[in-house]
Amino acid sequence: MERVPILKIGRTLFVSIQIDLQDQTVVQLQEDLADELVASRATGVIIDITGVEIVDSFIGRMLATIGSISRLFDAETVLVGMRPAVAITLVELGLYLEGVRTALNAEQGLRLLNGRS
């Protein structure tokens, strides 16, 4: 199973998903991120899904869960780079990703996090 790397820049954790997500990979990412949030005391998480071709109900639920978990560590999660076709499909699927904020790209996502009081 492949693993998604987590980078720390300042007080933000960056995750860029560049692989075809297997269910187990997303579960692992969730655990790795929780550990990293505690270890790094980060206040924000940016998940870049520019390279993700589909988000189905399982992957979507996991992304929303990551948002809820990070909030328990006083960190905010921003999902960035969603492809238009993925957004259309998600809404039709009935998934609204409550609990995670979204931004067009990583730069906008960072701005969102930095504007947080």
Partner: protein
Amino acid sequence: MAELPIDSGDDVVRVRQHVRAAAAGSGLSLVDQTKLVTAASELARNALVHGGGGSARVEVATSATGRTGIRITFTDAGPGIADLDLALTDGWTTGDGLGLGLSGARRLVDEFELVSKPGAGTSVVVAKWSR
């Protein structure tokens, strides 16, 4: 036509990749490709998690009105579904998910046929046609 096994999480990813390539080759738009691949991902996971494994047959097909597209048949030999109407209800789940897999997949495709009986496994046939 291809018959793909669904016996692991990696197999689910392989089904997605195969459906993506077939959908692109059959002239489906990017949004329609994405919808079909997402539906295939839900149904392949169902076959794995609830059906204990199964297979997906992916084929190029033509609709009754002459449009080309992709038809996928998912088959498993699992416990089957006792109440089909209930299983297709948004939010109904056997426990661990959101209950959007089956109902969501149905919304994402143009044709959807579910055959299942308790003890006799489940088969789901979906199709997406080019516009």
